[in-house]
């Protein structure tokens, strides 16, 4: 079973993403901010990260950068944000995100990207 880490400070969003991913057999863990996410990522490796940009304490970009700085192997990362601006997308990709989705992410869109990131697009 593929393990996904959802990093988002909004409980509603976490619950929503969790529901979508679990319905298709992903094992989901949650973190409320970048710091928590780093701790979880250090504990066990994940197959996919679903990371919010705007979070307290350590935001999504900071989290990905910190992973890189600490040389923690980074799985594919989907960045989600309410900002549709291109420069946010660019910043996310610079920080190490593999893909950038604008909230609200529709369930099919999320699943399609998750599969794509995991190289399961054709299964």
């Amino acid at each position: 079973m593929k393990r996904v880490l959802i990093v988002d400070d909004a409980a509603t969003v976490r619950m929503y993403h969790r529901g979508v991913l679990e319905s298709r057999g992903f094992a989901v863990e949650e973190a409320l901010n970048g710091i928590e996410a780093l701790e979880k990522a250090l504990e066990t490796p994940f197959d996919l990260l679903l990371v919010d940009v705007n979070m307290p304490r350590l935001d999504g970009l900071g989290f990905l950068k910190e992973m890189r700085r600490q040389q923690i192997p980074q799985p594919p990362a989907i960045m989600v944000s309410t900002e549709a601006a291109a420069r946010d997308e660019m910043a996310a990709c610079h920080a190490g995100a593999n893909c950038y989705l604008v909230k609200p992410v529709r369930p099919l869109q999320l699943l399609a990207h998750a599969r794509l990131m995991l190289g399961e697009a054709n299964q």
Binding site: A11, R57, R69, E83, D88, P104
Partner: protein, 829 residues
Amino acid sequence: MNPLLEQFLSESRDFSQGISEKLMQMEGAPSDQGLINELFRLVHTLKGNSGLFTFPEMTRVLHAGEDLLGLVRNGRIAYSQELADRLLDAIDLVMEMCADIEATERIDASRAGDSARMAESLRALIPEVPSEAPAPVAIHPGATPAGLPLLSEVPEAARKEALRQCRGGEALHWVCYAPVQDCFFQGDDPFFCARQTPGLLWGAAKPLQALPLLAELDTYRCLLQFHLLTSASREELSEYFRYVPDQVSIVPVNPQLLEPSVSAPPGNVQHHSAAADGFKGGAANSPDSPQAPAEDQDEASRERAAALDRILAAQEQILKLDDRPEWSGGRLQSVAAVLVNLARAAGDEVAISEIEAALAECLSSGQNALLLLWLETGREHLVARLSSPSASPAQVKHKPAAGPPNSSGEAAATEGAPAQSAASDGIKFGRRAEDNAPSPRSLKVDQAKIDRLMNLIGELVVSKNALPYLAQRAESQFGVRELSREIKGEYSVINRIVDEMQDAIMQVRMMAVSYIFQRFPRLVRDISRKLGKEVQLVLEGEQTEADKNIIESLADPLIHIVRNSLDHGLETPEVRRACGKRETGTLTIRAAQEADRVVIEIIDDGKGIDPAVIKQKAYEKGIIDEAALGRIDDREAVNLIFAAGLSTAAVVSDLSGRGVGMDVVRSAVEKINGTVVIDSELGRGTSIRISLPLSMAVTQVMVVESDGQLFGVPMDNVVETVRIAKGQLRTIKQTLAAVLRGRIVPLKSLNTLLGIPAAPRANSEHELAVLLVHAGGEVLGLLVDGFKETIGLIQKPLGGFLSGLTAYSGSALMGDGSVLMILNVREII
């Protein structure tokens, strides 16, 4: 309700509360950047959440709030009272919408108007862009269907394509998109947006006005407007530009205008064709490049040299900053990025590799020496190369596009800023131990679940009570004494565990009074501002806990008291000054636990209550008679304000201000077995003291018997139990009474009160059992047939048809499985 929606509602309430709190805190510290950031984040996240559902009314309001706060955060708007007021109103509206959703799972249709008005009122605080650029239609006659002079600029290829599509049935539209100048701060990316326009056939970016000199150019303002020819429908375009409808004008294009007969001379078309290709192809085709006036070559090169000098000087300054060592990495990278871009613009490959080597060295050593050195030595060369009039025209033309002022500055910023934030994140991460502190390990549970657990434990208490009966039967009926003893032994174990369980569930139901206290800062602020009074609110003992039901039923009486204090207790600053008091009044709300009760005091230093006025009013209203008028002391007189009928209508202006009076407060408090007393000193202030039980879950009742039935009387009502000989009964004005310790106590038969025909039974010594109860400040004797034990039990309210029986406050299950009705003493007498 769908759990996601429930989660959304619960989180929305938390966020709304947080937003209100932050706004209040900001009144004290309007420029606290941390607070503003946090506030922005809360509104932003709430908006994001609402986007998961179809609640456009809510999203619209929050979006406007987010935009507004975004500008506050960037320092473009100053925080103001008015801004806080409107945001608080907006949050109130959001809360109301949440209530709608909770009730019906959707937002009431009537909210759409409110939501639009609220968003409008928030946006009204966003200052208009200083309008050098008037409305898009006005500036460009090209946007009107008649003119479309720019149509002549459309290159041949795009025309042909347009005509082809037009014959295929597509409508052609001309879009003029004039972004507001500070659009970058609103998160817009106009260039990207324009290029992604659906059905785009051709487009051009034009400066709004003659562009200022490079040195004066503010790169953070958008000075361009876009002209786009597209084959998309009007609906599609309106949808695409829905966030900037006021900045866009869309006009249909008559395809005949595109026919070759009306086209411009070929040369012109050719020229613009190149521009269009550039635009569609993605290179940032800077608008000023084609217009660069050739005759000002010298002037321009001097200007460039000066600008370059400033850029380089700024880099040097940046390098020399040493206030935050953890940022130096970011600074080095930012400076290097700027230099590399300059060198690239100058076509100086050697310089690029020099700079990169210097950067690597600086980053690894943490010193800035090498880059500084490069700046000193390489500077002259770079400036000479870039600003020299002998530089090839291609280079000069190329420069503004890929060179320093625009794109490289931006690149430096994007490279630099994240690097800085990464560095500071690193520091933050290093302080993890303290960071861990503020995340309480708490669990949110639906109240229904707790209530169910509570009921189950209640039933367990009852079924456990059956064990002693069983033990007794084992012994008396079956004669197995050994078994009986074992059952009793087990019973005592179960008893202890159940007691602990009961205690534990009570703890779960405990809530801090801060739940109600937290709304007071806002309430006090709003009311005192409305009344023009200055009030300092002091909250104490917010962590004091009591049962959830108690806390919840306390909210309304407390709010009422606080309103009263603000309305009638505290004086206006002028009056206070005249009395020699501090202009700012103090309102203290204090909670504390005293033994098994929670005491809440509301103290103001206002004008107090005049006992003489109260006495007079009470006498006029017939609440006290003439004798009492002379007898009662000031303290008792002040407490008369709790009497029903006093603080209504006629005395409104003196005491309450609204139709409801303090008697409402008293009955609400008494309903949860509390008491309320008032103390007031004329001219010095008033203090109201509410005392409440910690928990309502377990009620102590005294069981009494009457006509063969058992009834429960809450111990809070019981004064004492006495037996009175039949001969001592007196009849005063058709009422039975007896003299007890020198006081006349009226007596009433419980049977009569409950409509039971039987007379009270006396015991063998001709004595009647009298239960002295107090209710509504009076003591009264209830004639019953006999007293039983006092027990603690879990009272359940009467449901369904029985809920209309006001004589009973509830029922409870007894250990033997029978039902005990609990009397509502205040009601029956």
